[in-house]
Symmetry: C2
Subunit: 411 residues, 2 copies
């Protein structure tokens, strides 16, 4: 492990200083190579699929795992798109001349060695490798065990392109010890690894957050609310609430609890009830909600649950203060929305709620690198530091100060 | 502890949303209150001084600990200066309209609850409290045991001003359990604390880095180099090298090892030797150095030592590549300098070296919030993430995205 990490770290300077044109050419070569080797990749994937079927993986998981010619083409296209992103390294983020006439530039630079731990979708292997490569970082990848053969086949193709270009193959590596113990070791190696990005189940993320001595940018749970203020447009409230819950209930930016002002609950609840029932949503409600619609009761445990399913809590609140207090208590700081036509209520909500993304009159489902216009998404950070919310490729860089002098010394 | 932390967290929203004018007025009131209570503070400090003398603290430490009327005035002035800094909260860092016609603003916001662990200078208590206050954060302070009474007296004055202004006194708190065990507990409370800033000895920082489940911005060691390239101006090389080592040898941005190109070592070493000896510097040298000047040998252990004293290693290198390899091996990523008139050498060094601050033709001693023009310094981060290098008050903020819609839903 140490030997591998030391080779990975040693290759960081090489990739960090590679120019954009070369990086983009290599990314396009990687796309070509994936296509040229698609039958090998699909064959490797068959092994994973057979093992998955044997071990009775859920069909949704099997579908995520599957690679065919079409999906390999999609993976290759994704690399081409990443090649087209604006160069993330060397952006001058700030600059000034200080009182000593030193010119100080704050410049974006690669983070160094980035470890990414993720689940069973093999396309993540090439996507993350490409994002790290384009941003000048060494990528150490640890995918799901179910996708082992697929990931190895993809990584080999990418590494062959690196070697053909006389670059160290460690720039894109699979973690050699792909067990839980291997991960436990990796996250202690702060001398070699600069950042860990875990993408996966709650238990994995908790384990890594608690035990890592390497900084972690985590993609944790999203317990998101939509609050319908008394001055909301009823039509916007209805379409946004339904979209936030039902358009894709299994993702982190979907709504889990809908808060409604008491003053308009009687008018709005029947229409909301019908729309949600039509969308197949199971509703739980507070006592005040249950005065108007016939649903199961919602408890504090429900308010604290990220369903990741088409289930919704509805709670009637006395006004914006109670709504914000509920969100502060139960929210996970991911995405929170207010629906209102009232300027002051919108401002108060947007300024007070402490979350990565706060919305007025829009669905929380927009919390997404693609929807934000970042071009490619590294993940959605629930960290407060380094990166918060949707992470684009720029979030795979840090900065350094370049100071240009002419003989200055400190007095 | 939990009860205290829960009160601290609860007060975060209050301070986060306080307007700049009110914050500045309160900071000025705090300055006034410190002056009005200076005799109480000096009296409390006497207890610490007496205990320090009894336990035979070094005179340098005793001097750091001492408070008198003049120093209380300096502390008050520092608060007034912090009040005059530009408002760090609510800066619009980026903004655009996405393809769905959502207006997205990236806005600076307070981090939340910040724990700062520091040594025995009591002025740090009010400085850090004021910086956190101005940036909208709750400050949990844990100063050195030697300054216990001084810190308590200062904190009480600040808290009284908060209470007079009907604000929760927890906004500025001393950690109730100010033992090592108390710190060990604090750094595990990631549910309540958003950031830990340790300022202190290497052992403390290592302990916190390894054990904290709260993100840490550390102020770690500075093992800094100056490299004299063959095309250096000899006069600049001489004055910058002497300044980097001797102007204040006990600080993190002072030089520990001087690297000199072989081609000019014979010409430069005698003059450097004389200048360093005149400045009271003890020199150790590599074999090639010792051909020209009479000094003790330098070993790898020396190259790996942050002396924090007027001791210097000198090493002759074959050229820029060997110099950069030495810096990559032994540097701590703090501050590194090249002295040269050669454009391409300067560019290569500045672009390749991975450190918070890289210099051409200037002393590494400029790595400092004050020298950078930040107005007040939180510290110098040796982290790669969140904040790197000199930290101003803006580095006590994070960001959130505000998304302004008009009924948009995700398709």
């Amino acid at each position: 492990m140490k030997e591998f990490l030391s080779r990975a770290k040693a290759s960081a300077q090489t990739i960090a200083t590679l120019d954009g044109k070369t990086k983009n050419r290599i990314l396009n070569e990687m796309a070509e190579a994936l296509l040229a080797n698609s039958s090998t990749i699909v064959k490797a994937n068959k092994k994973d699929m057979e093992a998955g079927e044997k071990s009775k993986l859920e069909s949704a998981l099997l579908d995520r795992l599957l690679l065919n010619q079409e999906r390999v083409e999609a993976i290759a296209n994704s690399l081409r798109e990443i090649a087209q992103l604006k160069e993330p390294v060397g952006r001058i983020l700030d600059g000034w001349v200080n009182d000593d006439n030193l010119r100080i530039e704050k410049v974006s630079v690669p983070i160094g060695v980035v470890g990414v731990i993720y689940e069973s979708r093999p396309n993540v292997t090439s996507d993350v490798a490409a994002l790290c490569f384009k941003s000048g970082n060494v990528a150490i990848l640890k995918g799901g065990k179910e996708a082992e053969h697929s990931n190895m086949a993809i990584a080999k193709v990418l590494q062959d392109v690196l070697v053909k270009n006389k670059l160290p193959k460690e720039i894109v590596s699979l973690l050699p010890d792909a067990t839980r113990e291997g991960v436990a070791k990796l996250i202690k190696e702060d001398g070699y690894v600069d950042l860990i990005v875990p993408r996966g189940g709650e238990a994995l993320i908790k384990f890594i957050s608690k035990n890592s001595s390497v900084p972690v940018v985590k993609h944790d749970k999203g317990l998101c609310h939509t609050y319908i203020h008394r001055d909301a447009s009823h039509s916007k409230a209805l379409s946004i609430a339904v979209n936030a819950k039902c358009q894709r209930p299994g993702v982190c930016n979907a709504m889990e609890t809908l808060l409604i002002d008491k003053e308009i609950s009687k008018v709005l609840l029947p229409g909301l009830y019908k729309a949600f029932v039509d969308s197949g949503t199971k509703i739980k409600g507070c006592n005040a909600t249950r005065e108007f619609i016939f649903v199961d009761p919602a408890t504090d445990i429900d308010y604290d649950t990220e369903y990741l399913a088409n289930i919704l809590n509805i709670k009637v609140v006395s006004g914006i203060d109670e709504a914000m207090a509920h969100i502060t208590r139960f929210g996970s700081g991911h995405s929170e929305a207010i629906i209102t036509e009232n300027y002051s209520a919108a401002e108060k909500f947007m300024n007070t709620i402490d979350a990565a993304c706060v919305y007025v009159n829009a669905s929380t489902r927009f919390t997404d690198g693609g929807a934000f216009g970042f071009g490619a998404e590294v993940g959605i950070s629930t960290n407060k530091l380094h990166a918060r919310g949707p992470m684009g490729i720029n979030e795979l860089t840090t900065y350094k100060f370049k100071i240009y002098g002419n003989g200055q010394v400190r007095r």
